[in-house]
């Protein structure tokens, strides 16, 4: 069956992130001038406005900041997954990401350690997701 969930909209800025995810790496856009990291990427550093931004690999380790269980499918592709879990993770590097927590347990707490896992959802797209450590 073909994949019918939304796919990332690739652009010149975010291409490196998705290419790396396919290789099992979690990248963050990084400012060589001031060290700020972020995702999604921007055209300049929002801290110091430096233009030349590069990418660094995240350790993939972080903590759970929050989570929700979606009981409504805004896209048909999520209907069979309901309820599915979305999480907010703060990486060791300080960057906060939205992702999916693959664990089904109800025994969660804010601050729980998590690490990245990679889910190859199509031939071209791999989504970084998170699991409890």
């Amino acid at each position: 069956m073909s994949y019918n969930k939304p796919l990332p909209r690739l652009d010149t800025l975010n291409k490196p992130f998705w290419a790396a995810a396919k290789e099992g790496k979690l990248l963050l856009q990084h400012c060589p001038a001031c060290g700020d990291t972020r995702f999604p990427p921007g055209p300049v550093c929002p801290k110091c406005l430096a233009g030349d931004q590069d990418w660094v690999e995240s350790s993939g380790k972080g903590t759970l900041e929050s989570w929700i269980d979606m009981h409504r499918a805004y896209w048909d592709g999520f209907k069979d997954d309901l309820p599915y879990r979305v999480c907010l993770v703060r990486l060791e590097e300080g960057t906060v990401l939205v992702s999916n927590l693959v664990d089904k347990t109800e025994n969660l707490r804010m601050g729980a350690p998590v690490k990245v896992v990679f889910d190859a959802v199509t031939e071209d797209v791999t989504l970084p997701k998170f699991t409890l450590v």
Binding site: L7, D69, H71, R72, V96
Partner: protein, 376 residues
Amino acid sequence: MFDLNELKDKIAVIGVGNTKYGNFPEIDDYGLAAHAFRNAVNDCGIDKNQIDGMLVSRIPYYARMGEVLGINPRWTITLPGHGRMSGMGIIEAASAIASGLCNYAVLLYANIGRSRRVNYGGDESPGTWDPWGFTSPGAAHAMAFRRHMEMYGTTTRQLAEVSVAIRYHACLNPDAVMRNPITIEDHESARFITAPLRLLDYCLINDGAVCLILTSKERAKDFKKPPVMISGFGGQDTFSPSSIANFDMDFWHPAISAAGKQAYEMAGVTHKDVNALMCYDNFSPTVLFSLEGLGFCGQGESGSYVEDGALALGGRLPVNTDGGHLSNSYMQGWALNVEAVRQLRGECGARQIPDCEVVQYVQSTPCTRSIIYTRG
């Protein structure tokens, strides 16, 4: 340099109007706005040809709006259809009048989201996190409320107090969309939309339109009803993280505090003087965040603050006496400002707050604004 505080009590709301609220597939945005406009014109008795300023929000084309109403202002501005534009629009119009850009400003908002089946999520509002299924303002508020539960021990039964009190007010408002009373148990047994939030934590989606007419204090004396003064206002935006839309790690606490402080200082009042709070209740947790940000209670203490019907008429702080977005009408803040005016005029019938003198509006959003209204 200008001192914003000099605008205290210089601008008045002289006319307010709204349509019925519901599902109106047979009428468009312009039609709804025109009905609200006519009601506001009749409310204050202004000759519509005197109106020389127009601000529209969620209305497709300002020029067509002017054509429909037969007005040609010398000041016109369009704001997008985001809920947070109501507080921003009123402040913009007040400053336009204060600077002489116009003398009489009409503010128009219309929403046809119910009859046109707007979802507020999915492909309607594409975002960075769609591949992970994270979409909709409700999901963002659920994410924030889960943090509040974890950090402060706030419970969903406490959250229910918000929806229950606001529904109680809707039951006293003959024009409200939802008029059946609800209990905490009803809230707790409603279906999840985005856990931890349930159906009764979500605002309505309905059609309708709202209109306000503003002018200067001096000109305000010439109209049918006593003017309601804009005594103070303040604002603070929080644009990071905009990629996580409608979300803030700190529940917008710094922004609400800043906007509230400006508004209180300008009006010369404190939160203790506020007789009613009109609070942007797109989702029930926003009310908790607003109470904390404005200082009605300490950070993390809103759960216990709202217990035992504290937000209902007769309680310690009546909130959204018209039934708010949760139970009256989803007019994205505009109807709450109209309710503030009607409370201060004493026009609210069964839901009237006795001796109402100070009403505060607040929208705790990426563009946080607060406005304090008093009797003229």
